[in-house]
Symmetry: C2
Amino acid sequence: MRFISELRLDDGVLEREFTLGDIPGVLWTPGSTSAPVPLILVGHPGGLHMLRPRVAARARYYAAEYGFAAATIELPWSGDRPRSAAAEQARADLGRALGTGEPVGEIVDRLVLPLVEKAVPEWRAALDALLALPGIGGPVGYEGGVIAIGIGLAVADPRISAAAFFAGSFVPGALFEEARRITIPLQVLLQWDDEGNDRQAALELFDAFGSKEKTLHANLGGHTGVPRFELDAAARFFARHLQ
Amino acid sequence: MRFISELRLDDGVLEREFTLGDIPGVLWTPGSTSAPVPLILVGHPGGLHMLRPRVAARARYYAAEYGFAAATIELPWSGDRPRSAAAEQARADLGRALGTGEPVGEIVDRLVLPLVEKAVPEWRAALDALLALPGIGGPVGYEGGVIAIGIGLAVADPRISAAAFFAGSFVPGALFEEARRITIPLQVLLQWDDEGNDRQAALELFDAFGSKEKTLHANLGGHTGVPRFELDAAARFFARHLQ
């Protein structure tokens, strides 16, 4: 892990860009800390150039208001990283199928399963590097989308102690089985009128998680309409489980 | 409204029992306040003798942690209040029908609609009296069950500015229409495995509410298994809308 920029923000949070091999990422740490702090991995659908303001707003809130470290990395085949012809094809196929109302199951498998397979080891490598930094002590939470990556990561890595997923993207059928193996506390965010997401499938996924403590937060509105207060709800969820 | 007892609790909250005509009630106010404070009406299924500890715990939390006043009254035909033969019969019929798996729609109508009709004016009278007290200034929230009473009250009384309902009891079909008329911010609590409650009906009721801001909090577990952190989630919901 190599830090390539460092910026002290007006809320006291230190924002550092880094690279981990060829993977770009960003780390936010609180202004003043005495003991090592817990870490939240902030998930997103890929393309940090576009999404950076939204991801940074969440990460800075966790750091400034709750004293967590927060970090994100670019997803495979997104942003400045090399593209995958298969992923581009699957994405185009999905758009076309959604337009014509065809079934999307096979396309979702082609799009999401390879992404999970490549992204999970990358997040775990980032976690290795982040937890080796002074001042970051764990425990670790994962928040946001892509929920399929979050599921894969939570199953693969016992260091993830709690997760606040955004049920706002397609989940291959195979991952429902993985979901049953998850037992950490969960908070699942669902947009009730998400245009690109099947409400019933999201409720079934919530049902499938093996966790004893799991809470669904469903809000009126479309995919991008997550109310601002859900950020604080996520922070308080992590405060209960990581502090 | 006549106060009949007054107790200063160890968290500084002042707990006062009162009667409003023949209706017993309890008011909790924060230890120290400068300006008049908002008021939360704490709903329950009736029978304050039994439920008082749970209702008081919620009310005291709102008062001690968030500076709200909180109040409750006994429901019609419950506790020490005169019984209704029709309500007792409907309750017995409901128990039997649930045991045998018969349809309950007509029984729920007989049980809940007269209760709503009698309880809503009583809550409104209590609201008149409570808002006339020095130190209580509104705005007003309603929280808890019986959700059918909360719906009726929110439709009837424009002083109710926000509501955190517990979707844990039967709702007559007629009240779905009322639910569409509600436009205040809502937070709806649903126990995912509520033995006595139909999950699908609860989701349909959530769908029916006319409010632009509505959030569903679904938690794993049965009717009495509402996690303790939902109390703070309700308090923060009210803090957003009443303060």
